[in-house]
Amino acid sequence: MTTCLECCCSNSCEKVIELLLNSPEPLTFSEQEITFEKIRPTAYHLPPESKDWLSVLKELSYRILLNRSLSLNSRLSMFGVFFKEITVQKAQKQIGLLNRIFNDLNFAIAFP
């Protein structure tokens, strides 16, 4: 058996979209054991520091995307500024810097 951290169904299936459109509640994860007999999930071989950094990046990105106090357009704009600052400040593999960019961004939105 192969294990992976996350999996989901594709948006290309009508039934999946129907389920997503069934309620406004945000997505949640549920833990379960799934056996893949023919299709093997993608395995990533990353050094621990990259893995940790990417996990933080994912978490912060989702916090931006799921911040319903802002319109979806505003969230996408914030997402863009976040990724631009990661590029400009060369924040790759630096978790502290990543968190600082995120906090500065939130501060700028709270106190424009």
């Binding site: 594709s10 979209i17 997503l20 406004p24 989702y62 863009g80 790759q92």
Partner: protein
């Protein structure tokens, strides 16, 4: 700019996407009578009036797409800023097509159909990179410039 880019992408992507081909005639037909983006804004307002939870639904579709694509590990290209342009392209195109397709429709099932067809292109091809290239070719190479595509 929205009309120009959206129509160009419809024509650019539909020849290689059977899924898109099923909705493009209807979308282009609706767009035939549109000369300026204010009509799009009206269609958008009408869609949001009919489906008050549209932003919540679209947020879930976007997050599901990111999980499906193993964000932020897989399919990344260029810098993180470039990568965002790809993600934004999917957001823009899906919203543009959904708004145009739904201009004269009222059923939630129609919305589910159009999103599932769109994500056969966006989720299962190299759409985000290709659209990123099209954005750059159109001179939309900064966050300020792509704000013009915010519907």
């Amino acid at each position: 700019m929205i009309l120009e880019i959206g129509t160009k992408w419809l024509n650019e992507f539909s020849p290689s996407s059977k899924a898109l081909q099923t909705i493009v005639p209807k979308v282009l037909y609706n767009l035939e009578s549109v000369n300026d983006a204010t009509v799009l804004a009206k269609w958008k307002d009408s869609l949001y009036e009919r489906f008050g939870e549209f932003d919540c639904w679209f947020e879930k579709i976007l997050q599901n797409h990111l999980i499906f694509k193993d964000f932020p590990i897989n399919y990344r290209f260029g810098t993180y800023e470039d990568y965002f342009f790809g993600i934004f392209s999917g957001y823009f195109f899906a919203k543009f097509v959904a708004i145009c397709y739904m201009a004269d429709k009222t059923e939630k099932s129609d919305l589910a159909d159009v999103f599932s067809l769109l994500y056969r292109l966006i989720g299962h091809t190299n759409f985000e990179f290709n659209a990123y290239v099209l954005l750059k070719q159109a001179g939309l190479n900064s966050l300020d410039k792509i704000k013009t595509l915010m519907l």
